[in-house]
């Protein structure tokens, strides 16, 4: 039986992709960002997922304003890299898992989530940057990927509640797939940022830290948050964090936070990254457990202070 073992959130800032493609990752500005994913690469190399489901949004690449599907699942055997206006990123073609994707589609549609299915779809930095952050720059991606594109470009995106419940339905679908597969779910985008209008450049670290805390321990609190609060507090484009709730919904209620990283800025954005493992079914332990994770039971304030210290350390 297939099972979801863990969830990952990751930024998908295009400038991170450009830094990789132009070999600028060792510059101090970018080093600060990439350093934060070193442990994560070790972690995922140990977990060795058989399939990753990557929840992301397209940025006017595969979808424009002609068709705006709210949830679009990639059921193709492979997904070419989109040309976003300066040539396709020099990353491997993304191989899909059509059988599992079709199974998920059938299961969640009958669970009343009316997905759009894509048998042909190009993928842009929204999907490939998180793969780079977690897997580095291999010749081939180490496992098949099922893309789940969510509309967060045109308002309104789906609600956090809808996203969380879709995650629940995906969990059920994966767990009813007969083949023995280890699945990791990625929620991408975020954290606080606004890239449009006079308010561009907005960052709200306090909101972000609270969001990360709640993502691990109290996702129901996030599920109730409305779009207005996301946009007010975390920026007009920060609303894309609803995508993280699909990942969280696909996990068990109680999870272990094995790693967290937060830094400001990457280009115009706060970068937030977290790894959550399911507790049951032999969810593997401790590949990248950090000392910070030990204080899980301490007051959130202390934890946030620790996280801030970590950022300071990384900045300096």
């Amino acid at each position: 039986m297939a099972r979801i073992v863990a969830g990952v959130t990751s930024s998908h800032v295009p400038a991170i992709g450009a830094a990789i493609d132009n070999h600028r990752t060792s510059e101090p500005y970018w080093q600060r960002v990439f350093e934060g994913f070193e442990r994560s690469k070790e972690w995922i190399a140990k977990v060795k997922p058989d399939v990753c489901i990557v929840v992301y949004n397209d940025h006017a690449s595969a979808f424009s304003v002609e068709m705006i599907p709210t949830f679009a699942l990639g059921t193709a055997a492979e997904f070419p890299i989109a040309d976003e206006g300066w040539g396709p990123r020099p990353v491997p073609v993304v191989k899909g898992h059509p059988q599992l994707a079709a199974h998920i589609a059938q299961s969640v549609i009958l669970d009343e989530f009316d997905l759009t299915l894509c048998n042909k779809m190009e993928v842009d930095h929204g999907l490939t940057v998180p793969l780079n952050l977690m897997f580095g720059t291999p010749k081939e991606w180490p496992c098949p990927v099922i893309p789940l594109a969510v509309n967060v470009v045109m308002f309104p995106p789906p609600t956090g509640n809808r996203c969380f419940n879709l995650g629940r339905a995906i969990k059920k679908a994966v767990e009813s797939y007969p083949e023995d597969l280890k699945v990791v779910v990625f929620g991408t985008g975020g954290m606080s940022h606004q890239i449009s209008g006079q308010r561009a450049g907005l960052i709200n670290s306090k909101f972000d830290h609270a969001f990360l805390d709640n993502l691990t321990r109290n996702p129901q609190k996030l599920v109730r948050m409305d779009h207005l609060e996301y946009m007010r507090e975390a920026g007009a484009e920060g609303v894309e964090m609803v995508m993280w709730l699909i990942m969280r919904g696909a996990l068990e209620d109680k999870v272990d936070e094995v790693y967290r990283f937060y830094t400001v800025p990457a280009s115009n954005t706060a970068v937030g990254h977290i790894i959550l493992e399911n507790r049951s079914k032999g969810g593997r332990k401790a590949a990248a457990r950090k000392p910070a994770a030990k204080s899980r039971k301490s007051a959130p304030k202390l934890k946030r202070a620790a996280a801030r210290q970590k950022i300071q350390r990384i900045r300096s």
Binding site: V65, M154, G197, R199, A236, N268
Partner: protein, 161 residues
């Protein structure tokens, strides 16, 4: 404007923000499709060679205001007229600008000042939540009492220095 028929949009209370909603998506359709056309190198060249001619030939349904905002590179105005930032960014890229150049233009600052602000941790949300102070009345737990209105405008001006 059909203001009398249409309900208020609560997000219009967020300062300095043009939410790309279904209404703007409808009004901005040709504007955004123009931006999409710039994904192709030959179109970028054709546009740069003769901007007005390119718009006339390929996007005759643009409104006069949209057309003017494109030609004058008025990035906030483009958002107001139904452009979406992920699309209008393609216009900036066609001019050879990094995204932070556009961000700086939209915020009325220089690219260096904008980049420095980001390095200092970005624009503070305090004073930038609401045009009217309505957020204080909202039940949002994270909203804090403050003089939102005054602060927002003074901050906006400061950045423009």
């Amino acid at each position: 404007m059909p203001a009398k028929q249409m309900p208020d949009k609560d997000y219009d209370d967020i300062p300095g923000t043009y939410v790309f909603d279904a209404d703007r998506s409808r009004r901005g359709y040709h504007l955004n499709m123009f931006c999409m056309s710039l994904m192709k190198a030959e179109n970028r060249k054709a546009f740069k060679d003769d901007e007005s001619g390119y718009l006339d030939r390929n996007f005759p349904l643009l409104t006069r205001e949209q057309r003017e905002a494109i030609l004058k590179r008025q990035y906030n105005r483009l958002l107001e007229l139904g452009g979406n930032i992920y699309f209008t960014a393609k216009l900036g890229a066609t001019d050879g600008h990094a995204f932070q150049h556009l961000a700086a233009v939209m915020t009325g600052s220089t690219q260096q000042d904008y980049a420095d602000m980001m390095l200092r941790g970005g624009r503070n949300v305090d004073g930038n939540r609401s045009r009217t102070g309505r957020d204080i009345l909202a039940k949002s737990k994270s909203a804090k009492p403050k003089s939102a209105k005054g602060k927002a405008s003074s901050k906006g001006k400061k950045r423009r220095g």
